[in-house]
Amino acid sequence: MFKAEHFHLIRGRKLAADDWVVVPELADSTGNVANGVSPAPTDANGKFFLLPLSGWLEQRQSLIAMKQSAGSPLGVWLAPTDDPALLEHDLALLDLIAVHFPKFVDGRGYSTATLLRQRFGYRGELRAFGDVGRDQLFYLARVGFDSFLISEGRDAAAALKSLDDFPESYQTAVDQAIPLFRRRDSQALA
């Protein structure tokens, strides 16, 4: 389900190599995280473990200690039903939060992202992964995602273009704190 080699990453509006590997919800022999075993910083390919929320909550203390001693980055992924408020006090520790879209029509992740950015002030990398394609990127970027794991069989390079689908937006979102109606006059004068 989460075979990273089939995906293409867009980060900072550029194609990029992905140095994370997703650890599924339940115990996984490589990640070990959900088993109470002390985690390794990377897998055999040198990729960092992206942990499910449950794994993070379970081993939070040892993972933080590992980051402090080895400097290895920390990443957590959220399912659509996961409450982002559970990460509220850990945000400064996290280098990556990824939000899973099991189907692209499941829009819960858009609210998850909005809350992480607007409500809780998360500033690190926020990634959309799962059923993620070109035609969702504009909205995903507006709610605060800055990295996108384009799913298998889709053209990530072509998908980049859609980040510029619209020149302007009416309403506020993470990317634009001021609604168009507060900017119309100033733009007309400019």
């Binding site: 858009y110 909205y139 619209f166 009416y170 309403q171 507060r182 119309r184």
Partner: protein
Amino acid sequence: MYIYDHHDHAIVKARVAQFRDQTERYQRGELSDDEFRPLRLQNGLYVQRHAPMLRVAIPYGMLSSAQLRRLARIVRTYDRGYGHFTTRQNLQLNWPKLEAAPDILAELAEVEMHAIQTSGNCIRNITTDHFAGVAADEVVDPRPWAEILRQWSTFHPEFAYLPRKFKIAVSGTTQDRAAILVHDIGLQLVVDATGGTGFSVYVGGGLGRTPLIGKKIRDFLPWKHVLTYCEAILRVYNRFGRRDNMYKARIKILVKALGTDEFARQVESEWAHLKDSPATLTEAEVTRVASQFSAPAYAALPIVDISHQTKLIEDRAFARWVERNVHTHRVAGYAAVSLSLKSPGLAPGDATDVQMDGVAGLADAYSFGEIRVSHEQNLVLADVRQADLFDVWQAARTLGLASPTIGLLTDMIVCPGGDFCSLANAKSLPIAAAIQDRFNELDYLHDIGDLSLNISGCMNSCGHHHLAGIGILGVDKNGAEWYQITIGGRQGNAAQIGDVIGRSFAAKDVPDVIENLIETYLSQRLEGEMFVETVDRIGLQPFRDRAYEKAAPKHTPEMENV
């Protein structure tokens, strides 16, 4: 009317380009059916029984004559010369080609129109009263608020993939004509004791499989908070609305499951974070938008026009039309006119390109170049001088738009049904035609008086059958088309869901059954009592007895319970 500035134009143009690209990628096989479906739906494009269907947005039901002429040209060029006006004040094209859809959208964009979010699980067209701005009972003009909400909801990035579709209606009158109690959010404009404008907020109304009347979650929301408050409602819904079963995915199910108080508490708690953020509306914006809905240059006219009064006395047919199709206006000497799209021979709500062009001409000549679409699927000229009513009537007769039956039994709301719609269980248009046929006596219709009859071809209830004095619902019974009948429903402030009278009927029996229901009413009514009032007073049983005593076929299936 709202006039686009360069931002509005740029946004709609970008949408046309985006959809053109998506359509081309679909045709090249780069997008699968599943990937393309939500994209085309959010551009109004369905795949229907015979051809795609394109639903064009008519924001809050307002059209300029230039826009209506463009719609006429579009149905002539890209379709079969007619379109279908819907209960949500939109226009549906029945026979466009998929590959032509981007061109149609480009034609629409030129006249400041679009098909954005007319379908799909997103925020749909914002609807309101078709007499907005001219109604005598108007407290606040709802149109600027509907436009402000339209802009806020257009391409809202967080709410494009909701659990299910989401409909918002705004009413600015004491008598609700926008059906706000059967919308996901119903906004009632109110003025408080200090003269401040605000909204009573209702959520969780809706028809369909589980018809429910909206619940009030706020008595008075000051106007400047309307966008942030809606955002809070939508966020709670987007996060917690059910996604496992499309029939239980509307916000009404969430409100019911949580309870109104708990739902309201969650909204208030979410809103506490959004209140007074930059998304809060400004006086300047409301003024900017409201200035585009300012009253037209009305002439100072006497309250009563003598020539009009004379014509009323001289011409019985004209007087009858005035009685049903002409409505009071807040400005002396003016009236609002309903042009009926319920003439026999055309499907209810349908209009031809010739009729559209004709109405555009009438609007230019008599009504400041503007037209409204009513949710009862008629057209309205909102600002006609009394002195011009006779000319308007004659022209409307020539166009086949002068059926003097507004609000009467044959002013039916009817969905396209099984003839067009792939969701339908049964046809609705032949039923409508048979009823039109049966009740073609004007004197009889006028004697029956105010009575709504609505027909839906399936449980999705596009024909609002639940809210009609007599509602007809098409049901599928082992592959055969049957019709279930409800009575006693109504729209407006006291909106009420009708009650099923019993087992369903075969298509051929429906006109008889309707006639039996009407006869029951006529024999039982008290002086001045309307159909639904008689139903309230005497209950279902007398209607039921009569309906089944005559029409019951021997091979009826058991009681419907759909």
